[in-house]
Symmetry: C2
Subunit: 398 residues, 2 copies
């Protein structure tokens, strides 16, 4: 019986080059010496849950220790992702899974809860493994493959600024500013004034202290408020890594917020994790444990924002493999500091975040996830540089 069940589980995972064994020694898969990884299921309950709902319980069981994995976790997940044909719509199991999840809605209050869950884990924690230069918790940009994480994150900031054609004196509204690195970079190197919105209190505290220490007060203002409440007017609207937390049902409000603040000749950029197709909710475990309320849209879904108001898409760039590279840097630093993480939290947390980082690398590497940067302006505006050479061939800044 347990042999039949474990074979079913192994087949369901697409028969990756791994070894899978049970508490009673029953094993399937490739011989140990050829296996990318060895997975051990420690009890029957875990096996049954994995069979019933692998998307959720793979993570749950790994986190709890009921599923032990030795070997190359990223390689294993890549093999599983590659083996599963991309689904064209939701399968029965996936629809069932949706029902299991109480979706975390992104109302004003819901967003605050959801963002607090992830981003207020403590600045000390994120400082262990994010870049030391700009504290960027979004995809970096590697002009050369061997750039350091710090170099690549600064290059990302410049890439965004050049796409937006920042001019000294411009006013910028940033929606979802993280620890405020982009806003400070813009103010310092491009001579613009930034009003940056965020609803994570811990991040804002960090951002304000940094700005004060760097003498940027008066040029960068960090505002504790939701993107739906942006006000005033601006030459540039920018949002890096926030759209994932908005939810497609709120895209019209996003469009209306941009429409409210952007000047007639203004430019905008939205940078977001995305997908090639809308294939339903995110992985159930990621939704439960890591990113409640998050949803990576397809590019089509993103375009709904621009179509809702009279915006025109000027440029889309897919930086998927840059995110895989970014995540490899994060994972490496995370593992270097895993002792500190264990002290701050516990073993369950350590494993959960390892799985999240490894799974994300695998997802970007196998094309399950994309990273889209979309530049837009108002449909009636003819004031943009006609070619993109300025992004690449001009001096680096300004």
């Amino acid at each position: 019986m347990s042999r039949w069940l474990i074979q079913k589980l192994y087949a369901g995972a697409g028969r990756p080059p791994a070894r899978l064994s049970l508490w009673d020694g029953t094993a399937v898969g490739v011989p140990a010496r050829d296996a990318l990884a060895h997975l051990r299921i420690h009890n029957r309950g875990t096996l049954m849950r994995l069979l019933a709902h692998p998307d959720l319980y793979f993570g749950e069981a790994y986190m709890s220790g009921d599923l032990e994995i030795q070997g190359d976790l990223v390689g294993l997940l890549e093999a599983v992702y590659r083996a599963r044909a991309p689904s064209r719509g939701k399968g029965v199991r996936s629809r069932f899974a949706d029902g299991l999840l109480r979706r975390q809605r992104n109302t004003l209050d819901g967003s605050r809860r959801n963002i607090h869950h992830h981003y207020d884990l403590g600045n000390d924690f994120y400082q262990l493994w994010l870049d030391h230069e700009a504290m960027q918790y979004t995809c970096a940009y590697f002009p050369q493959a061997d750039a350091t994480l710090e170099e690549a994150q600064v290059a990302k900031l410049d890439h965004v600024c050049r796409k937006l054609q920042l001019q000294p004196g411009d006013t910028v509204v940033e929606a979802g500013c993280g620890w405020g690195g982009l806003a400070r970079h813009m103010a310092r190197h491009y001579g613009v004034r930034v009003r940056a919105f965020n609803i994570s209190r811990e991040q804002l505290q960090f951002a304000r202290e940094k700005a004060r220490a760097e003498g940027l007060e008066g040029r960068v203002e960090y505002i504790e408020d939701d993107y739906r409440n942006v006000s005033g007017d601006c030459d540039v609207f920018v949002s890096v890594g926030m759209l994932e937390h908005v939810g497609t049902e709120h895209y019209p409000e996003m469009a209306e917020a941009i429409d409210r603040v952007l000047k007639p000749d203004g430019r905008g950029l939205i940078h977001s994790i995305g997908r090639n197709r809308a294939v339903g909710p995110m992985n159930a475990w990621i939704e439960r444990r890591i990113f409640p309320g998050a949803y990576p849209p397809s590019l089509r879904e993103m375009l709904g924002i621009f179509e809702h108001r009279d915006f025109s898409v000027l440029d889309v760039e897919n930086l998927r493999l840059h995110y895989a590279a970014t995540l490899r840097h994060w994972l490496q630093r995370y593992e270097q500091n895993v002792g500190r993480v264990r002290e701050m939290f516990d073993d369950r947390f350590v494993r959960a975040w390892r799985l999240y980082l490894c799974g994300s690398i695998a997802a970007f590497n196998t094309g399950q996830l994309q990273l889209f940067q979309v530049v837009f302006n108002r449909a009636t505006c003819n004031e943009l540089p006609p070619i993109r050479e300025h992004v690449y061939c001009a001096g680096h800044r300004g």
Copy 2:
């Protein structure tokens, strides 16, 4: 009565800075000295038709001479386009207009008829006003605003080739090759082999003669067949200015054709006129007289192609203002050769094509139309250059 009607017509056009007068001397609009253009309606039937269905009969009446226009036709059309708020869905009139039109379906036979209507007007005609270098009847690319049409069309060809990262020895399938300029350029300057498909017999004849004269036989093959019948396999799929003639209902067939021929590590580019939003059929007159069966998709609609199979969008560039610049060159050459056009055809034709060229300039300048270049590959392929610098900063070719 006629004063009330002409006022209604003028208001419906958004009160452009123009003068509009009737056969009986009745006039509305701005004083003659301030008017961009003076429009004269020569009879009551024309006035009534213009009121009932302006989108169709503006062109019909201008073509027949029942509506005479003196002054700046492009400026007039831009003012009209700017005044009409972009519609969010179809209005009553527009739905009525749809009913008037027998849509020209793009079945295999329908496409042949539709393409013949426009592209088989005679190579001599197109040679009067297209560039002499590559006979490109698609948007050029102006690296500098003052580039000549010939320079800008060659720059477009190189822009496409660089985005596609052509390597010597690559095989290319081109869907809709016009007079074959891109295929010859690729073969000559990038050392690739091209099979180029087209259903316009006149264009193919020209393309084959040119390839023979330039010694490119064996490296470029021009095939008289529909894009749906592409076969073999290729490293690169490219289609410049054909998607406008496909129709959204055939996008799945387009996706399947690409899926059939593109190698696992292949790259693709589709270049098409588009719109910011799907707002129903094209202008009724353009559909009837100029481009039967044509439809400029929204970017969202274009993405349907890539979502239908497992493709991933890597890069989108909007070259709208480059098309306005291209059309200004075409219009200038057209007017320089208008005597020849009149000899080849007649006054009605001369006016129809003038209106089409002027209207197109106005449409691209005011954002009614966009020009999208979309680069894509298979979702599972990681073999593309990670950044776009090669498009801009490398040597020009190869």
